[in-house]
Symmetry: C2
Subunit: 283 residues, 2 copies
Amino acid sequence: MGSTAFDGELEQVLRVGSGFRLADVDPGSTPAYSGGKADGEALLDEQDAVLAEHQERLYAAGRDGEAPSVLLILQAMDTAGKGGIVSHVVGGVDVQGVRLKAFKAPTPEEKAHDFLWRVERELPEPGMLGVFDRSHYEDVLIHRVHGWADPAEIERRYHAIRDFEERLVAGGTELVKVMLHISKDEQKDRLLARLDDPVKRWKYNPGDVDERLHWDAYMDAYQRVFEETSTAAAPWHVVPANRKWYARIAVQELLIGALKRIGPDWPTPAYDVEHERARVAAS
Amino acid sequence: MGSTAFDGELEQVLRVGSGFRLADVDPGSTPAYSGGKADGEALLDEQDAVLAEHQERLYAAGRDGEAPSVLLILQAMDTAGKGGIVSHVVGGVDVQGVRLKAFKAPTPEEKAHDFLWRVERELPEPGMLGVFDRSHYEDVLIHRVHGWADPAEIERRYHAIRDFEERLVAGGTELVKVMLHISKDEQKDRLLARLDDPVKRWKYNPGDVDERLHWDAYMDAYQRVFEETSTAAAPWHVVPANRKWYARIAVQELLIGALKRIGPDWPTPAYDVEHERARVAAS
């Protein structure tokens, strides 16, 4: 095969626990993985089928409307690779079982409601793999950085998020919260690369530089998010993302882990197989 | 390469025009294609990248909120392969640019509205490839077959659908309406195959046999749908689907054709590239 597996329990290594400091994470590192790029790419390929089968079992279990679901929440600075995770990791499973939502700036209707209102509407149904490209965490990240909400309101939101996610988990949704962590220098390289390539210029948004100028404030905001919302029920994982190939196998592995914890087996039919066989044959 | 291309203009061959009779279509045929299964599978693989690039251009064009969109509407008898089209054709493009909706029996809230209400809410945004697995056509198919709506109401719905689709097209949505056509015998084989394989039993639904018992009434209902709603702006295509590989390359080709007609090129940036390069470099 030639691929190299993870050394140990990736989920534990990347999980944000007490005393975690984002500043101590090296965005260029590859925790729990000793292989290089070629090994990682081979692993991504190989585990594609593993992820796809677990996801299909979940989807099958969802047919009776009572199955659990998985929700991957992706947060990151611009260019960190959220889109690549969606295309290359999530893209490996059957699109029928995926419910993807990319959250943009809220519409006037969304602004007229509590910040969790639009999120509730996009939650995955039983049996589905939900993916949030950005999420309710923007309301405690960009809102904090730009002072769009006052400190007391930001505090209220941390509480609201904890309660909300605890309820989700209790209701049968396995949450996989991921922050893709790149360095400021890596972001500069990636922004310049988008400007250099005519076929990638559409991905460049001048507003990304405006946010980049607040880099340190964003890192502080993420640190606070982790302290306030990395709970036992819904922990955060910080995935070093300067190496795209590593970020992809790491998120793939986290998703496989979540699906294994839920562990849906192929559902047993609620009908009598022999009886149905006779009905079909006679029809 | 080894793959074989379509002989001619597939879109014209499959299009439902005046005088079309569903009963004359052989579900086992492979119109406009002289290759066999292996050729078709190679073609599917090869055209995957073509479809993906056209779709990415459309998605890129959608960044400014003014782009066209494509909407694939899939209708068929059970087991005809709608799911396979979604997995194996649509699954080849970047999931970020896909808006998939599988319509089930309407909820009480949906029933409280006009039949097009829930459909409007699922239309693809600019730049997106929308996919409807079933659609508003159920309201003139199963409703007609079971008499859930009286004839006058069904007539009203044909009108409403024509007006609705004309408006969609005028608004920049390229409609690709596809009926996957299998034979009654082929359906029997596929239902039995689902019952035989423990890993596929979850796909079997006893209700499918109930509908199968109304086969002829469904064929009549489809015939009427074609007569009433295959318009110049939004024509139907009947794709013979006894051979899954053929149905897949045919729908792939129809989608590529639709994307080519829209023909979005990579968008030109709305910003000054040199100015932005300097901003990034200085940041």
